[in-house]
Amino acid sequence: MAEQTQAAIMSKPNRQRLGTGLTLVIAGLLMLVLFVRGTQSGQTATFGMNTGGAALMIPDLVLPVQPTLYTLIVVTVFLGAWQLARGGIRSTGWLLVIVSFCFVAAFLIWATKDGSFNLVGMLNGTLGRAIPIALAALCGVISERAAVVNIAIEGIMLIAAMTAVISATLAHSLVVGLLVAILTGAVVAALHAVLVIRFKVDQIVSGVAINIFGTGITSFISSRYLESNIDVLNNSGTFKVMSIPLLSQIPILGPIFFEQGPIVYIALLLVAVLHVLLFYTPWGLRTRAVGEHPKAADTLGINVFLTRYVNVIIGGMIAGIGGAYFTIGSVGRFDQNMTAGKGFIGLAAMIFGKWNPIGAFLSSLLFGFADSLQVKMQILRVPIPSEFLAMAPYIVTMIVLTGIVGRAIPPAADGTPYEKQ
């Protein structure tokens, strides 16, 4: 008897099945209404597959607009109908990934109709725009794995962005700028660490205070000094793109991943290194223990406070690199509030990436994509106001935070101060 009911229970996610099925069908119809209308048969969309002077040019991708759109719509509606009728596809996450892909692809084709669009260039931009978000997310991962919520990332990046450009301009050395940014990140993060660990200030409050302080002090210095002494203080130049020999010659992937500035490579390296450190070394084991069950770690002689200090400060150094990217990594000067919420988006990427370095990086790419796309769309003169396109990364962040796609469990002790007694 119990077994029967159990079977009945197992088939209960009916509502969810109906929900995703319907969502897919509606998405398909929406694509029909939004994108197919207004296209004519015979139109094509051209996607550039090369950037600059790659040795191995591959032909541009020329797609017929209407047939491609119909294919994408059919795929979406078919998946939806399948899910409605039969269920069976367990992973709602993957379904949503597929439908999002179809939707974005359809949008791109519609936007590019009768024109051409450099796809690889956009993806290259995606990585570039993902980097500060990824570094912010890594900072979050490292702190929160030790159970310290660091919402001060935005402020850390802002201050580091400024110190980087000033020191780089003064020293005529971008490397000095980068090192100063790292140091700045460490110092500001240490302030956060002292406040929340030593003084047990509410972690969010401390983060907000540092953000306010960071906005204030950078704007103060900017309007007091930088604006009137641009060449002396606020004109550093930027890291040049470093093509990696051979690798950058790979079609498509080469220009995306291996024609970037040094900070991008540092970030990619950090993702891998932090992943290994976190899951395969004593430091990682202790960090995770402190984040999950600090009391247990304490009873085994692990210094909970020290672990947290170290992690928050390392996180701050990573965020410092992220800050440097805004100035010496991309535009070569500091503007007030130039981080524009990227630190917070990084936190969303961290959550979406399940507090995992690689996951955080991959979800940063999602935000980078949304950001890069909106910039490129403005060039294509899509009949959507640019301001709405510019909302894309923020809206994506909010959708991601709903946890409809893959909900993760944060480290058990995340955000709680440790009372040693």
Binding site: D202, G216, I217, F344, F388, Y394, M398, T402, G415
Partner: protein
């Protein structure tokens, strides 16, 4: 009398009291509980926690700001360069810089006392108002700046009471202003007693929507309101860029809205250029309303219970989700009203960058005011004065206005970490527990 009642209320609300576990011998004779209560509350402790500590936090913030001013002063830097020749001059130069900056600040905010006295004398002697108005202009401006701060502080404080961190008051403020402006300029045929409330309502609704969305996402999906309200801010900025350049743009080349109709304006108390208007008393009324709501109604009881312990509140039959949505909606509405009074009473139109900085300021003053409506009003007054004076400090002492944000950041830190203040001033009194305002990313 109300103050006393309030003190009674505060142990529950601010949890500022950490009475040690009663040791067995504390068998009190059965007195009237009111008297007993006073013994236990140790009034000195409440006084320290709720007044002295914030005051010291502000003072310390000003001192730190002063140091930054001194460091940023050219004359002072030059003097320090010659420190070994003339150390006194170096210290004096820094001191002068600080004094100059702060006297510009407070003079710009409160006006010159002598002028004010003279203004009153002339007024009583001759009935001439021009001198008086000129003298009280700075203070009037400070109160004008205080008005949105009161609303915004109440908005953030209300969120805190329910364990929610509404960091998006800035966006809600902007949306409220746009909503009020739209109702204010697009409708032209209504009498003022309908048009004005309608415009205020429009602002409140626009802000409420902007607050309700993160509230709903929090209640339904557990999505953290801090990130979401920040995102809503950015969306509000982009949306307002579009509105001010498109649908809501006034005739002309500047990206601003049309001026609201006279029927939608909040009347001013004095002739131009004094802008003090009915928005200020309205803000005070709303402070009272929020006080009543939080401490005297069943809904407020729920809000506070949910904020203090959501699990126990759910156990006791309250709907945590409903409270989250309700509070974020009301919080957004208050922030929206801030925007509405700013437009209808002070500016009469909305332009880009309208809300800059208000969001973060409001967090600082809610914390400073201990999330209590009365505290918020006092903190708002202080911030209004700081902001009012900052402009004159910028023009008179060449100190960028952003120093105010630096001071506010410091004030938040000092308010949130009373241990630092106690350590700096070697205080041994006061036993405030840390108030837990928010929780981690989970639900």
């Amino acid at each position: 009398m109300p103050a006393k009642k309030d003190a009674r209320k505060s142990p529950g609300s601010t949890s500022s009291d950490a009475t040690p576990r009663p040791v067995p011998q504390s068998k009190q004779p059965a007195e009237t509980s009111g008297e007993l209560h006073r013994e236990i509350r140790r009034p000195s402790s409440a006084w320290v926690d709720n007044l002295l500590m914030p005051a010291l936090a502000v003072f310390t913030g000003l001192v730190v700001g002063g140091l930054i001013i001194a460091v940023a002063n050219d004359a002072a830097i030059t003097a320090w360069g010659n420190f070994f020749q003339n150390p006194v001059a170096a210290i004096k130069a820094s001191w002068d810089a600080i004094i100059q900056a702060y006297s510009a600040l407070f003079g710009g905010a409160l006006g010159n006392p002598a002028d004010i006295v003279a203004g009153f004398q002339t007024y009583f002697a001759t009935g001439q108002t021009a001198g008086l108005y000129k003298a009280i202009y700075p203070f009037s401006e400070s109160l004008v700046l205080t008005t949105p701060y009161i609303f915004l502080g109440l908005a953030v404080a209300l969120g805190f009471r329910c364990g929610l961190f509404n960091i998006g008051a800035e966006g809600q403020f902007f949306m409220g202003a746009l909503g009020a402006a739209y109702v204010g300029y697009s409708i032209t045929t209504l009498p003022w007693f309908i048009h004005l409330p309608l415009a205020l309502f429009g602002g409140a609704v626009a802000g409420a929507i902007w607050g309700a969305i993160p509230g709903y996402l929090k209640a339904k999906f557990g999505a953290h309101e801090v990130v979401n309200t920040i995102m809503m801010n950015w969306i509000a900025f982009r949306l307002s860029d579009w509105l001010l350049n498109g649908p809501m743009k006034a005739v002309g080349y500047r990206p601003v809205t049309s001026t609201v109709e006279a029927t939608a304006e909040l009347p001013r108390f004095f002739p131009d250029p004094l802008r003090l208007n009915w928005g200020f008393p309205l803000a005070l009324v709303f402070a009272l309303l929020v006080y009543w709501f939080l401490f005297k109604t069943t809904l407020g009881f729920e809000v506070r219970a949910v904020g203090a312990n959501p699990d126990a509140s759910r156990y006791a039959g309250m709907s945590v989700m409903r409270n989250f949505v309700l509070v974020m909606t009301l919080s957004g509405a208050l922030a929206g009203l801030a925007g509405a009074t700013q437009v209808l009473g002070t500016d009469h139109w909305v332009g880009q960058g309208f809300s800059a900085g208000y969001g973060f300021d409001s967090i600082a003053l809610a914390l400073l005011g201990k999330s209590h409506p009365l505290g918020v009003v006092l903190a708002a007054l202080l911030f209004g004065i700081l902001r009012g004076g900052a402009t004159s400090m910028q023009s008179l002492a060449r100190i960028p206005i952003h120093i105010i944000s630096v001071i506010q950041g410091m004030v938040i830190i000092f308010v949130a970490a009373p241990a630092i203040i106690r350590w700096i001033y070697r205080l041994r009194i006061g036993t405030a527990e840390q108030t837990v305002l928010t929780r981690g990313w989970g639900k």
